[in-house]
Assembly symmetry: C2
């Protein structure tokens, strides 16, 4: 583990905050949150959409969440004598805390709502949403981190995944990063998020269904065979090392999409070995730099860790990271318009083999 100590405190409204320290820094726990925060907002609801058999979260309080504050009022920077941020200490390496505007929470007692109509059951949005700050440097980015820091982040995600998987009712833990205002980022400070979902999200349900069908048909693991086929074909591989391969999926939905997968099937980040964790950073940083070099400016992206579910179907999960951008040209974005947003039918303008070749050549 690259973090030497782990210091947990409570913010003034009861939310948990955990410092992951690369050196011994037990003193960080000694800085209290001096703010008088309002009581937490009401919990979100999950509403069942009968037409597509999916749950949708409704979280009205998120409408007023912090939106692109000036940099001297950044809630993710360490606190200073003149501004009390979300992080009370005057410095940190990696820090994780519960989101003030959570889509899901296990601390807030939900209103009693049983259904809206006979067709639409409702359940409380139990779960947990955390924010992960990768560095105290407001103007940095994930791609600028050192491999050592990436290891600390991975270890922090492992810690959080293991802990959040134990919350009663949590179905899947999902660490991700949204980067860039084009993606809708509301805070510039380099950070990711972790959602602990109360239901298995739609994409994961699809993956489980596909994986179970493949297993029944062939007796084999779907992601293992897909990764092996990509490594053998090689034409869409962007980069690789002893433990990981980064490749453009043959049926990529996004103009630039790369999946990073460990060569060994593991369910989630906690299950990665020491060597696999060390090998991840250099490869991922290499891919992120290629992304930023594509159009000579910071690439907006979504980076999404697909982990095994906590309950039924866990044995079908194969950990992988999905990285994708909506930028399709220097001055053009891929919008999810009618076909994608209303029908789920993606039309990709960039041929995956060409995307891989371009990324390899940078």
């Amino acid at each position: 583990m690259t973090f030497r100590s782990r210091t947990a405190i409570r913010l003034s409204d009861g939310r948990e905050l955990i410092y992951f320290n690369e050196e011994e820094h037990t003193d960080r726990g000694g800085y209290p949150d001096t703010r008088h925060l309002p009581t937490p907002p009401p919990a979100s609801q999950l509403r069942y959409d009968p037409l597509v058999d999916e749950w949708v979260a409704v979280a009205a309080h998120r409408q007023t969440r912090t939106f692109l504050p000036p940099s001297d009022a950044c809630p993710l920077c360490p606190s200073t004598p003149s501004f009390a941020s979300e992080i009370p200490a005057p410095g940190y390496d990696v820090v994780v805390f519960e989101n003030q505007f959570p889509s899901f929470s296990d601390r807030i007692k939900p209103d009693e709502v049983t259904s809206l109509t006979d067709m639409v059951p409702v359940r409380p949005g139990i779960g947990r949403c955390e924010v992960v700050c990768f560095t105290s440097d407001h103007n940095s980015s994930f791609g600028s981190l050192s491999p050592c820091r990436v290891r600390t982040v991975v270890d922090a995600l492992a810690d959080r995944t293991a802990e959040m998987s134990r919350i009663t009712g949590v179905a899947q833990v999902f660490p991700f990063e949204n980067r860039g205002v084009e993606i809708g980022v509301t805070l510039h400070h380099p950070h990711g998020q972790i959602y602990a979902y109360p239901t298995v999200p739609p994409r994961t349900q699809q993956m489980l269904r596909a994986s179970a069908a493949y297993l029944a048909r062939t007796g084999r693991d779907l992601y293992t065979d897909t990764l092996a086929a990509e490594r053998a074909a090689a034409v869409r591989v962007v980069a690789s090392n002893e433990h990981w391969t980064a490749y453009v999926p043959a049926a990529a939905r996004w103009p630039y999409e790369v999946q990073l997968a460990p060569h060994r099937k593991v369910p989630d980040i906690p299950a990665l070995s020491d060597q696999e964790r060390d090998a991840f950073g250099p490869l991922y940083l290499d891919v992120l730099r290629r992304f930023d070099a594509l159009f000579g400016k910071p690439m907006p992206y979504i980076s999404a860790w697909h982990q095994a579910v906590v309950g039924e179907g866990r044995e079908l999960g194969y950990l992988h990271l999905q990285l994708f951008s909506i930028r399709r040209a220097a001055d053009k974005l891929k919008y999810l318009a009618g076909s994608e947003s209303a029908m789920g039918a993606f039309v990709n303008d960039v041929v995956p083999e060409n995307a891989a070749e371009t990324l390899r050549a940078l």
Copy 2:
């Protein structure tokens, strides 16, 4: 039918164009396309994504499609002596033509590609993509059309749905409108599109699965019961008339989303009666005006006609229009970030009952 005549011609690259004339205007067919258009681009491919059991279209030629041209070079305005647009005639009411940059086509011979790896079969992107111009007035909008013109549009969509459903291999016909640059619109002229898909799109597959399961469990039709429950609850109904109801779904995914459904179960637009077609325009125009009034400026939206599939499962389809916007506040958009784009898990910031109340009050 409010169109009195229907005049079909071929553009210089062989694409079909059809004028739907509200008066007799057979002379429109007399204007030839004077341009020397390049040969059509290669056909798109459908690639199978084994991880989620979905098909993705790859259409590289769309990368160079016309992008926000100046208004005197609008390809959707009628041709003038100084500029030859896509529409040769000097005027039109409603006109439909094959997209020059189609995601799917039945006219172009596809390259022979059988598979990329053993895991990823490929098939040609057979189908059809058409553009529908609602008015020759470049600066108008769908919401500014007369009810009579809306009727002509509906009749044109009925004509196209019936014809495109007969193309061999077409699984579903999907008329839609993207409105606003925030949605990614690349041409300002008021227009919609029609996609004839070669496979059943993912959302429709979900609807069919949900509908079939509900029928097996209850012996009843899913959309019929969902609509009846919303009409009885009334709290999310925005407006209605004798033949149609417009309501915010109880589990809406988008900040402002309205579904317009006919009270009678019909599979598609061609199956609508004369009275139902007449009654649609006034209600839809009312809803569109409420959308534009929400924030005092043109609302970016996607308007999507969900029709029954052509083949297996057709009897499960219940025609409805899904209208939704990504604008969540006067100065804020809803972005599909990590949870939505990578996991398919929607978090809506606006409570559907509040959205309905706001829309009703305008």
